[in-house]
Amino acid sequence: MKTITTFWQLLSRYLRQQKRDLFLLTGALLSSICLQIVNPQILRFFIDMALSDDVDSGQLYWAAGAFLGIALVTQVLTVAATYWGELVAWTATNALRFDLAAHCLQLDMRFHKKMTPGMLIQRIDGDVQYLSRFFSRFTIMILGNSLLLVGILGALVWEEVGIGVGMGIFTVVTLLILVRLRGLSIPYWERYEEMAAQFYGFIGEQLAGLPDIQANGAVPYVLNRFYRLNQKWLPLFHKARLSSTVLWGASIVLFATGHALSLALAAYFWAQGELSLGTVFLVFYYSNLLIKPINDIRDELEILQQAEAAIQRISELQGYESSLVVADETHLPAGALGVEVVDIGFAYEDDPPLFTNFSWTLPAGQTVGILGRTGSGKTSLARLLARLYDPQAGAIRLGGVDIRRVGMAELMNRVGMVTQQVQLFQGTVRQNLTFFDETVDDGRLEEALKALELWEWVQKLPRGLDTMLGADGLGLSAGEAQLLAFTRVFLKDPGLVILDEASSRLDPETEALLEAAVTRLLTGRTGVIIAHRLATVSRVDRILILAEGEIVEEGVRAELVDNPDSVLAGFLGAGQASLDEEVTA
């Protein structure tokens, strides 16, 4: 029952926009079903006429012509039905793809840590493809063919009540059995598809990591994994297909039984002397005619079977909820945003807690440099500020407002973040900077690029802003990619800017060049700068040193530098011994 509700929800939601096309599609399909009954009648008329004593050859030619005409019309209707069916199906599935993609985009990072992009492609594109036919013709075919069945059974009852009732019972039982068997293979296909998603996830990862694989001599290992995945996949394929065969096999046995039944009934009534030989023929003919609609219904149910498995996976995907509860109750104040972290507790899923009762504040308009070893919690703190995760306890306030009470879009617009890993898309430089937003005008882009002294570089590209970048920023150096990521933040007007080891991939000269730009970006804004290199945080107002989720030291940078007992001064002192330019404070 639950699945039926889901079906109706999907159908009504995604077909509502397409009433006209749906109407035309219904017309074409139902007409071609009607013509299926008419054409055999013409054939019968033709034979009767040809065999009768007073042959009217004019009528014979008329019948032959009508047969041809109807065949032609049927074909036209078939093509028309295909056109409208495909149109309806693609419009509906595309809308569903869009909704699923939108849903997954808003899911939190916990979800994305579990799913490879390859798996999500299979869910959003592969699974939705199964629904194509379900959207376009499922309901119409089921309804139309049911009508056809009723018509044929009516004709049989008209010839001989006993035969009509017998065949009626047969039809109902057959359909019941076939519907019953329908659900049998769903779990098997589900397991098969899960494996498929895993397989394509594997392929995607290997292709993304070709240099790592090759230069570490792991090619044979990857092939070995391929074989092992195949060995796990094939049994699932066998089981899934075999479970579908049960439905097919059942219909073969049922139809053989149906044939036998119709002949037995006919033979019985013929022996009673209640039927002419001609009627026996007709009974057999009509019983035979029952097969096609039952088969069509079975076909549709089989497609439904695949669709059902896909629908289950889709609703499973839709069922994931972001653990970030988004409220849109209030707004952030304009201008620089002060940061208040109040008594938070946080852990990544099953990991031990990273922060317990952690509190920290940063006044609006000031910049802080966060230092600490890997694993000290620097990056996690940045992620919490950008609300990629929510703390399990406590609260984070920006500009005095709890970030959980602000709409996600607004928050993201007011918090700019550059991370070490820059993600670029296969698209033009412009598309990469604006994330395909075409409303951003060139003037703003130029301004941002000039601020970063990137404008000259862009103009040297073969097609300027419209130069295509390969997937993953092919053809760009890591530093160039990083500069593009900076430009992305420049394009927003954030009140809080977080640079998470953002300059780590830049050489010292480029980093120095960027410094002026960073300073400009941070003017009038609050800044959080996370870095390994002390030089990177040489211009900040405050320093926060973390270790294992706890504050080791916090204070005004200048004061800490002057205090010989401070940890920072210790760092600087240690640095001075061996790293000269890292301490140009």
Partner: protein, 585 residues
């Protein structure tokens, strides 16, 4: 990338596919001969039944015997069906697996850092997400066409039998009906080119959608912090619409072609009606002959439909083969269907033993004395970036550091040397010319840690070893040298910790150090690091170098080639080379 357009001989490729699991293929064809042929039996049984009723039968059976036979024929078909589905599943899986295997194998041999692009089309770099559609859809197409071909062979045999019988009954009539067949073949040949065009456009549009989905979820964090969900989704919608348009066109055209096929057949029936109108009247044709024609015509009709379908599928697979050939430049098209072991489970589900993963040969003479590079150069396609005229000499045990501004070509130099880019120039290992750097620079001779290492969604130790057989002591030593032992201790699951897609559950520094451990555990003669400092803090990196140096003993004396900006490394280096604009200065 070479502009050459190789010609793909589809017929030859298909033949190679069909002969891969030849015996299984023949057995499968036999079962399907039964499955498709057994429906003919009821026709003969019916004839017997009606003859018995009218007393014309030579056999002295009661009508009930015929009815039992009808049921027996149904059961026989059922048995054949289950056997045939089993062999078909096995065969189908093997066909697409072979194509997927060969695709993967060839891509693994492709210089891993060079962009994978489609031959002849400028700026058509293919992302991993797009490549997945080759593994999914194009492999499926190859699987389908082989099955389609087998079905046509089976049905063709029956159709041939039917035609022979018909010719003996009435040759003139047979000719009238089968002349359209010649027309069909002509139409299909003519239409083939257009099917291919639509199919190509459809595939391309699909790739773009899956490509965007893949990039979208790879870059999920960047999108989230940029708050760029809306424009990205708007772009998805644009690609979705383009895909719908091409797909509807493709489906329409296929449907039109199919309807032409069936129409020509209906025309045949119409012609038959017209012709028999006179022959039935003058008695030159009996009603029995007429029934026979109608009955067998169904066989031939279905066959023609299948044949038409095969011709269309054939054109489609031609597109698939060409696409796969395009994405593998410099590789013979025949490699796509090359016969290679797949280690698929046996028909009875028994797993075959996989070959042992080849291990680096530490016993051989791989000692590095001197590495000389002459005139190394590489230019990225459609870009001015690259390196040229690199001369370099490294002696045993040296630490050579490369430094320079972003975009100077440091990473390109490493990748060109390791054969990860198809570079020009000469490389000498102990004076001997290295012919294929990609295959040569693997453990035990060399290993590599990229600037942004790629990890795989397996557990930690699998990521570390990638199939390498190493004892616990060595693993622990590598982990320690890479300064990863503390992180490992904090993970409850230790070596078994699942690290998520691309190691997303680890921090940037952990990923980098795990990748370093992955390199070190292979004990290569030449260690190639690309900018470790980008994700490691000073203390950690210093520790790493100290431990690595501490590892040196008489048996193991690695030579290091390192891209870095870190003063601490530059100070330690035996030589520091600076790159400017793709050249060493």
């Amino acid at each position: 990338m070479s502009g050459k357009k190789s010609t793909v001989n589809t017929r030859h490729l298909l033949w190679r596919l069909q002969t891969y699991a030849g015996k299984l293929h023949l057995v499968d064809i036999f079962f399907w001969l039964l499955i498709m042929g057994l429906p003919a039996a009821p026709g003969l049984i019916l004839q017997g039944f009606f003859d018995t009723l009218t007393g014309e039968s030579q056999l002295d059976w009661s009508p009930w015997v015929w009815i039992v036979w009808l049921l027996v024929a149904g059961l026989a078909r059922l048995v054949a069906l289950f056997a045939g589905r089993w062999t078909k599943s096995q065969h189908r899986f093997i066909m697409s697996s072979l194509v997927r295997h060969n695709l993967l194998k060839q891509l693994l041999g492709w210089p891993g850092a060079a962009p994978i692009s489609v031959t002849g089309e400028a700026e058509a770099a293919v992302s991993p997400g797009e490549l997945i559609s080759y593994f999914r859809d194009d492999a499926q197409q190859a699987e389908d066409v082989v099955q389609h071909f087998a079905e046509v062979v089976d049905m063709g045999l029956f159709a041939l039998g039917a035609v022979i019988i018909l010719v003996t009954v009435n040759a003139q009539m047979t000719a009238l009906i089968f002349i359209p067949l010649l027309l069909i073949v002509g139409v299909a040949q003519y239409a083939g080119q257009r099917i291919k065009r639509y199919r190509r456009a459809g595939r391309r549009a699909t790739e773009q959608v899956t490509g965007l989905l893949g990039e979208m979820f790879t870059a999920i964090q960047a999108i989230k912090v940029a708050g760029a969900e809306k424009p990205i989704l708007a772009h998805l919608e644009v690609l979705n619409d383009a895909r719908r348009e091409t797909m509807v066109q493709d489906a329409m055209f296929s449907a039109l072609l199919r309807s032409v096929f069936t129409n020509i057949v209906s025309l045949g029936v119409g012609v038959m009606l017209l012709v028999t109108a006179t022959s039935l009247q003058d008695g030159s044709m009996t009603i029995g002959d007429f029934a026979l024609f109608v009955y067998f015509l169904e066989f031939v009709t279905t066959f023609l439909g299948f044949l038409g379908g095969l011709l269309a599928t054939y054109k489609q697979v031609e597109v698939s083969f060409e696409r796969m050939d395009d994405v593998l430049p410099g590789v013979e098209a025949a490699e796509i269907v090359a016969h290679s072991p797949l280690y698929t489970n046996s028909m009875l589900g028994k797993r075959r033993t996989l070959p042992a993963i080849p291990q680096p040969d530490y016993g051989g003479d791989n000692r590095l004395e001197r590495l000389v590079v002459r005139g190394l150069g590489y230019r990225y396609p459609h870009s001015q970036n690259g390196i040229e005229g690199i001369d370099l000499e490294i002696k045993r045990g040296e630490l050579v550091a490369i430094t320079g501004r972003i975009g100077a070509g440091k990473t390109t130099l490493l990748q060109a040397l390791l054969g990860l880019l198809p570079a020009e120039g000469e490389i000498y290992w102990n004076g001997a010319r290295v012919a294929a750097p990609g295959q040569f620079f693997v453990p035990p001779r060399a290993a590599y840690t990229p600037q942004v290492p790629q990890l795989f969604s397996q557990n930690l130790v699998d990521n570390l070893l990638l199939g390498l057989e190493a004892d616990e002591g060595l693993v622990a030593k590598a982990v320690q040298a890479a300064v990863f032992e503390e992180d490992l201790r904090q993970m409850p699951a230790g070596y078994e910790t699942m690290i998520g897609p691309n190691g997303v559950r680890l921090s940037g520094g952990q990923r980098q150090r795990l990748a370093a451990a992955r390199m070190l555990v292979r004990r290569p003669e030449l260690l190639v690091f690309d900018d470790l400092s980008s994700a490691l803090d000073v203390h950690t990196e210093r520790l790493l170098w100290e431990r690595l140096w501490g590892w040196r003993d008489e048996r193991y004396q690695p030579t290091c080639l390192v891209v870095t900006h870190r003063p601490l490394v530059l100070a330690r280096a035996d030589r520091v080379l600076e790159m400017v604009g793709g050249r060493l200065v």
